[in-house]
Amino acid sequence: MKNYVIKRILAAIPLLLCISFVCFVFINLIPSDPAEVALRVRQVPVITEAAIAEVRAELGLDKPYLVRYVNWLIDCLQLDFGVSYTNPSRTVAGELVRCLPATLMLAGTSLVMVILLSLPIGFFCAVYKDSWFDRLTRGIIFMTTAMPAYWVGLLLMWFVSIQLDLLPTSGNGTWKHLILPAFTVSLTYISTYIRLIRNNMLENMKEDYVLYANVRGLPQKTILTKHILKNSMHTCIVAIGMSIPQLISGTIVVENVFAWPGLGTLCITSIFNRDYPVIQAYVLLIGVLFVVFNLLFDILQTLADPRLRNEVV
């Protein structure tokens, strides 16, 4: 088991290197010369060839590609992502740290909503398969998969905030601001997980151990909660865990609809301002989160499920 964990962690390192390399290439593909941009950032009045060459040497831009990559990587490992183009007084890392809490709060609330809503609904859909509740839920799920998140956001904003005047339309501050955006983010995931839990439970119901439990005369309630639900939970927990980075990146659209001051808004603003270092750092951050969470929940799954453990050892 220990060997397996070590093997998985080692296998993730080349992947992380590849991701960082893609991000590094990304900033080198931009149309403008980094040395020239650096001069502009310092508000040098006249940009001459000599000045550019000087800055090139200073920033290490005259060195070979791979050397620059290694230097950049070392900087990144020390959480130094450079300086924002549009606002030179701010570091990229500072910008990310400023916006991260809001996004984490949004993603965290969405995650709680996903778990709280999809588990019971999926459970009841499986238990009462083909009842009116199951049919209705499946209909709603089908609708939500076809709805763009921003439109759902707009509809909710109009209905809940303007018609009913219950919650504020946009902004950040109290818990009231959090509800609508979080629900909008979680909606797609809720429908995915209701379906996942439902189908998992229905598959488990056909297994022999359920038949055996029935033969033993256990009450239906015990069979459903203690046996079937527990067995169906494994895959769902792993799937939810792996989708956490997706949830964080998925806030990008909803944040813009609700003017939520998080990473998503920062990213879109940076795209409009051509603030490449910020975008680069954001992509790198999400990519790394993706790999780390995948790894983490893969290992957790193997730890939790004895069947998988025997396979890998």
Partner: protein
Amino acid sequence: MLKKFLKNKVAMLTTILIVFVAFVGIFAPILAPNDPYKTDILNKFSTFSLSYPLGTDHLGRCVFSRMLYGIRPTLGLAALTMLGTIGLGALMGLLAGYFRGWIDEIIMRVVDVMLSFPSQIMVFAVVALLGINVQNVILANVFVKWAWYARMIRTGVLKYRDRNFVLFSRCIGNRESFILGRHLLPSIASEMAVLASLDIGWAIINISTLSFLGLGVQAPIPEWGAMLNEAKNVLTTNPVQMLAPGIAIVVVVSAFHLLGDALRDILDPKEANL
């Protein structure tokens, strides 16, 4: 298989709907009652009438005509995206699955890296890098999606490449390109059709999302996502503005989803009763 397709009501109805919408889009200049670009500021936010079936927007433009013209970028861009995605994915997947060896290794490692990025972030990154432009939206979508197809097609090819009919074809001296194009591609085409019809819905939502954020189709051009972006600004005063484009997106996307599900049922009855 065609018989089964014709028998399946859902598949037939959704296909008819999609073809109908596509035709309406193609013949928009004939069908549209008004010029979608003509502004009439005195007549803004007018309600439903004979000359303006869905009313007018904040500049007095006919919403119905804009909806009809909006089919063009929405469906057209999504179709182009899928064409590029499947083309690139099929090429890479066939190469990897058929020739194996180092080609396979390289392609699959690239695919692994591509799949380790969340697709939405990559779309934004590519658009940011190349600039805000419609072509770049397609490029970005193809760029993030081809890896899924490459992987799926490779698996399909691996399943078929050692079957007797392929071995026979090679024995009688057919060229590799012939085997790939005539034997392997048709064998996996049905699986691809299911995935593609599900993903075209994804592409429509994605493109309209980019347009909504102002990163895709730009303002005066009628596109459903861009129309919703304009509707957002008048949300408090004229909420009706956001209904038509939103409903249109939902209808078209769910038609593609239903078609995908129906196709899967036709091709693989195993999963039908789950």
